[in-house]
Symmetry: C2
Subunit: 201 residues, 2 copies
DNA sequence: GGGCTGAGTCAACGGCGTTGACGGTGTGAG
DNA sequence: CTCACACCGTCAACGCCGTTGACTCAGCCC
């Protein structure tokens, strides 16, 4: 479920809005981005987002339909993985892990945690599935060889999601305390073994 | 985060309770088990659990302290993995995956989903971490050879958690539709590669 | 100028987890 | 035997939540 490689969100049809409407809409979106990141999906209430944006809570719903819809429009499911996937397939395992284990990416961590927290909402779950298929499996599978390419790509995503879960959500002490380079080598190769069995170290 | 191999829950100190108290306590626990399983942590309200048990909502809190505490006492974090872990380490990867991919274990799926939904609560998260360390890493690590045994065991848990996440929570269509035997072979070997690199197929 | 549509306000709904004040009731000590 | 006390349960309410509907007001087009 890592969700990387995102396209810029296509805010649909704000043309019919008047300038005032577009401005408050943007204010709400920014407040939502901030609060969803810092407090998570459950911790960020519609009322708090409205207050942060200096706006009536009802207006938030009026503009975006529901908290879930606001979340989906606001928190980018992308975690910025595009460039990592573009490199050589033979070493993508370690590069993926290295990207996420890097401590200098708090925003990525925040977004993943928020996403994991909201995963039980139907629309969010659907978006996550769609995203996995579109930005992970689709670009990866054609570059693999052998049988079950799509399945192997999907299982590699599962591996990655599991690491991020223990690392970001559970904050597992063993993995957290471990030497990042070791984690990259061990887990990266485990992922690599699924993608290119013949090239795995 | 798979949480298996559980000991029977040690309900602490119900001796001081009168028969009536113990009975309604048991009724609440059973109702909670049912509703948490079928509706998840967020979907099962304290009020609904109380109604199912034929009891006042306030009584639920009075007996268990909070919804989160009731959840922890009620939903067994164990997923029944003990026997799987006891077998030979050289093939534990495939056996673990086979256990969870088996469609005939709906209760395990339900419990995992409920757990994942409640993972953002502090006490639940702590319990999950504790459980990972106690029932996965502790029995597994000493039976491994080579460097970083604890870390490798923890990373194997991460792999498993990732699979269950995509399989149970996200219901990823690719993995769901795939031949279970293939998933067992591919993912089982990926886990095995982390545990016993020399024995991996 | 008059209708229409977008923008914003306000009060309220039903639900949530939780609390506190308040009656009964069974048990053990005097 | 009685009386105090801890347990058991009830009830109404608190403050929060996401969401809705009725309403006002301003700007645009015909």
């Amino acid at each position: 479920m890592p969700y990387g490689c995102g396209v810029t969100k296509t805010s649909p049809a704000t043309d019919h809005l008047r300038p005032a409407g577009r401005a408050t809409r943007a204010a709400i979106e920014e407040a939502a981005r901030t609060l969803f990141s810092t407090r998570g999906f459950e911790g960020a209430s519609v009322r708090a987002i409205a207050a942060e944006a200096g706006v009536d809570p009802a207006l938030v719903i009026r503009h975006f339909g529901s908290k879930e819809a606001l979340f989906l429009r606001t928190v980018d499911t992308s975690l910025g993985i595009g460039s990592v996937l573009e490199g050589p397939v033979e070493t993508v395992g370690r590069r993926l892990v290295a990207y996420f284990v890097d401590a200098e990416r708090p925003a990525v961590r925040q977004r993943f945690v928020a996403l994991a927290q909201a995963a039980h909402r139907d629309q969010v779950r659907e978006e996550m599935v769609r995203h996995t298929a579109e930005t992970y499996v689709a670009p990866l599978a054609p570059r693999l060889t052998g049988a079950d390419r799509e399945l192997r790509a999907a299982l590699a995503v599962a591996q990655l999601a599991g690491l991020l879960n223990l690392l970001y959500v559970q904050e597992d002490p063993i993995i957290t305390a471990a030497d990042p380079a070791t984690v990259v080598a061990l887990y990266g190769d485990a992922i690599q073994g699924l993608l290119t069995p013949e090239a795995a170290g």
